[in-house]
Amino acid sequence: MRNRLLYAVLASLLIVSCTLDAHEDMHGGTQRTAPAADGFIAPIPGSYELPVVSAAADGAVLDDTGATSSLHAIYDERIVLLSFVFTHCVDPDGCPLASFVLSQVGRQVLRDPALRSSVRLVTFSFDPVRDTPAVLAAYAKSFRRPEMDWKFVTTKDEAALAPILASYGQTIQRDPDGYAFSHQLRVFLLDSQGQIRNEYSAAYLRPEVVLADLKTLTLATPDPTPIKPQSHLARAGDDKTGYENHDYQTQSRAISARGAFPRTPLNFDAPPLGLPPFSALNGPVPLPSHAALGRRLFFDRRLSHNDTIACASCHLPDQGFTNQELKTPIGIEGRSVKRNAPSLFNVGYQHRLFHDARESRLEQQVWGPLLAMNEMGNPAVGFVLDKVTGLADYAAEFARVFPDQGITMETLGAALAAYQRTLVSGNSVFDRWYFGGDTAALAPSAQRGFELFRGKARCVACHTIDKTFALLTDRELHNTGLGFERSMRKKPASDVIVGPGLVMNLKAEASAGLNEPPVNDLGRYEVTQEPSDRWKFRTPSLRNVAHTAPYMHDGSLATLADVVRFYNQGGIANEGLDPKIAPLYLTNLEIGELVAFLNALTGDNLEALTRDAFAQPIGDRH
């Protein structure tokens, strides 16, 4: 009963609508961006892409004259708008809507010469029992003007129907009364190559949208918007500098900016000014082939057990080859790592590796993170080697670079070590002033900072400067009291930043029940078991230190000024405090000058190193 009444109303409305086309306001080429009366804003043809969804399937059909044909013959290399209906359907958001919209689109197509010559409408009935060619022809008369290119088709029987419906993802259920079907309205847009480019359900089926899509298919694909050239690739892509302030503004970089710039070969003929000769490296001078393979491995997330973490996940090229966004990194499955990821700048000159100096060569060191259960989480050396061997992009490359060895514990380590040894950075403003004799290179405040550095502030006692080079580390381990403080007197933070310039003083309920993992860290003692080694950590180099925040072994100090203030107070008193550390009595002005000096230790090739790294695609599961 309901169906028949609906059908009557619908039929009358369709008749009305069919008489209205003379006054429609959708002229071809008119680009309307203002909202329509109901708030709808139509898209501008050609301003967007319609990605290929899949190839439109073929199948045997009958047309409304009773002639046999195939869908592909019906499509005939035209742009096709294809609806799936049954003619007895009365759902207002179903088949009648589809036929109504197709008729409206058809009228507009007739008015547009480009569309008229290229667009065909096709209505497919999935009710071959009831919708005979004769019924289809009668149905077509209600919607199709004689001059329209509009085919009405069905199949000869239900057996021929099933594969077509399956290939177009159409599910139909005959209603219990046997009269109607339960189905979801779906209209397809096909390009002239017979590829599905869009699909519409009732919610999305508006004539102006369909027309925009038809026109878009006749226009050239727009060029992707170019990424604005960035002169600061060595800055974190998600820079949050100044986030504490209400007037913070983002300077975010597109993810797609990585790889948008050509690689410029790194200059590796001689060490830059300020660094020792290559003979002082902790291993062989890197061969380009070794380094290239190592770089690929370094940026491959598949080197972790569950394919989520690369070396570069914690040593990010645009974040000073450390992670500026975390105090301490996060390992596999989110497991906590207790120490700050050390920067890898000039790591080739380090002879004692890790914060507790437990490793001696980079070739060996790389296996530490690979196998640590809270870092990359691999269960065994053999597992890693087998996995890399199984990755299509590595076997041939290893065979080429290490012809007699292939993929072994040694060669994988050698490749990663070689890449890391290319991360040499010097020729800073300080180097040009101190070693290069350019007396104007270093600003006066930084010069005063340098005098403090090797004088009153006594930094040079551990951050050493030699006659012809300066690694700015004594390669020794020291107890500054910071580790002691963390182990013995930990106090929870109560101020938390919750938005730009929004700092909230939390109440106790905020963190009740949250289980922060223990962060105890006894430093060198964990290697030697010597009580006198408690809370001793390795002296880091200060090269590029302006780009390697956060600071200290636990990443607990956010800025260089914080670090200087920490030493100005004499570290933190404890039984094993290094005797070189004592209160410095620096003024605020002097602290600023020291920071100015530290900022002058930035090498001249950070952009080049970042660009070189960004040219390497990230390795992911295929």
Binding site: S54, S182, G499
Partner: protein, 453 residues
């Protein structure tokens, strides 16, 4: 008479005609996914995407089916459990537009599991696993929202493979599981034509909802892999990490997928729910860190605007509003706060001035909420993220799936499935299934099936 007016007349006349028979014949679902089949009657099942836990049961992620039909003999019981292998940080899930398949994602490994839920709604089958999501999308990590579009799925990501931070994008896949394209959230160097209404274009991503009748899509913003995988207590003590939360809602042109306007919405706006009414041009979101309800609305000039319209509890206690659910008549909004395990009901009859009218503690922690179409049945789950969840609390109140009846005044408990005692894991998103969807429904369009999220 214009064409649109004609169509509107056509549709509204028919809608009016059928009003007594079915509540929303002409309106599409705008809050879950437009034109997805809806369950307006009794749902038979809840499919609960569940995170595996080390040391508990088989330790892996699984899709758990619970019988929720009160007339069934197994009402309130786990009737099926389908383990998928590994721990992937099981999180959200969503049906395809025909509701025959359920896509469920892992935020850690970016693996996507596709379940057949129509062949036997009581026993979902794993039919496809997408393992190359990150490579295919050119770097999107952490598939989050699975949102049905005609013939395809829109999938928001939470992170990226470069810095594991919050910059991310949306991917489109065909219903068959083939990758189609990626849309990155606008960043300062790639605004793609979007206007910054404030100072922020962080490129972060979280949820997506669409209003097809307005050709509008909205996205929100959370945080990246580093933070959502990190221990929550550790993160709150890391000032740099706390700066890496999203502060934006983006208005998009739905059809072209181009961003149009970026709103500053500080404090991690998460779930987006749009009003259902055909003249209700607004959506809600809640901010996790600043504990506010925000209204994203179209003003009298047709311009989209954003404003904070209500507080949710005491922000200094970080109640952490998570999932929200809007009623079919646009008058009520459930808001779950995770940290205190409480469900709040807001009267949103005036969307510009929501008023809290009811609160009920559900458990030690509370994340997701789903309600039946008529609002009489409300379901809750507990888990937020593997390394954020609390582990201590009363038996049955830590990791649970709880069913309640809502009589308009109070929640009445019906049953509780203790996911720890059942050795299942941590229950996250719920989606409803029904036999009627695939066999007994007269027509999908007419019955308008769907339990709303």
């Amino acid at each position: 008479m214009t064409l649109k007016a004609t169509r509107a007349l056509l549709v509204s006349a028919l809608a009016t005609f059928t009003l007594g028979l079915s509540p929303v014949v002409s309106a599409d679902e705008t809050c879950y996914s437009p034109y997805m089949a809806k369950i307006v009657g009794q749902e038979d099942f809840m499919y609960i995407w569940t995170l595996g836990v080390q040391g508990l049961g088989d330790e892996q992620d699984k899709l758990v089916t619970v019988d929720v039909n009160p007339s069934s003999k197994t009402y309130g019981k786990v009737t099926n459990s389908l383990s998928v292998g590994g721990r992937n940080e099981a999180h959200h899930s969503g049906f395809t537009d025909d509701r025959r398949f359920l896509w469920a994602g892992g935020l850690d490994t970016s693996t996507i599991f596709i379940f057949d839920v129509h062949s036997d709604p009581a026993k979902p089958k794993l039919v496809r696993t997408i393992t190359d999501f990150v490579a295919a999308t050119k770097g999107v990590v952490g598939p989050h929202t699975f949102y049905a579009m005609p013939g395809r799925m829109l999938i928001t990501g939470l992170s990226n493979n470069q810095d594991h931070g919050g910059r991310s994008g949306m991917a489109e896949y065909s219903n068959e599981g083939e990758y189609l394209t990626t849309h990155w959230m606008p960043t300062d160097d790639a605004l793609e034509g979007a206007a910054k209404s404030g100072k922020i274009a962080d490129g972060y991503s979280y949820d997506v909802r669409v209003q097809p009748r307005l050709n509008v899509m909205l996205t929100s913003s959370f945080t990246g892999w580093n933070n959502y995988m990190m221990n929550l207590g550790k993160m709150m003590g890391d000032a740099e990490a706390m700066k890496r939360f999203g502060n934006t809602v983006v208005v998009w042109d739905l059809h072209t997928r181009k961003p149009k306007k970026i709103f500053d919405v500080p404090g991690a706006p998460l779930e987006i729910r749009c009003a259902w009414g055909v003249d209700h041009d607004y959506c809600f979101t809640t901010t996790a860190l600043t504990s506010k309800i925000w209204l994203i609305h179209r003003d009298g000039n047709g311009e989209w605007q954003a404003k904070a319209v209500a507080d949710i509890g005491d922000a200094a206690k970080i109640p952490l509003p998570v999932d929200i659910s809007i009623s079919a008549d646009d008058t009520r909004l459930w808001v779950d706060t995770w940290n205190d395990g409480t469900a709040h009901l807001f009267d949103i009859s005036d969307p510009h001035a929501p008023k809290k009218i009811y609160s009920q503690k559900i458990g030690e922690q509370l994340n997701m909420v789903s309600q039946s179409w008529d609002g009489k049945r409300v379901y809750f789950t507990s888990s937020l993220l593997a390394n954020w969840d609390k582990t201590e609390g009363p038996e049955g109140d830590v990791q649970y799936f709880k069913a309640y009846d809502w009589d308009g005044k109070a929640l009445k408990p019906r049953f509780n499935v203790n996911f720890v005692a059942e050795k299942l894991g941590r229950p996250h998103q719920m989606t409803a299934g029904a036999y009627a969807l695939f066999a007994k429904a007269p027509t999908a369009a007419r019955t308008g099936l769907a339990a709303r999220e």
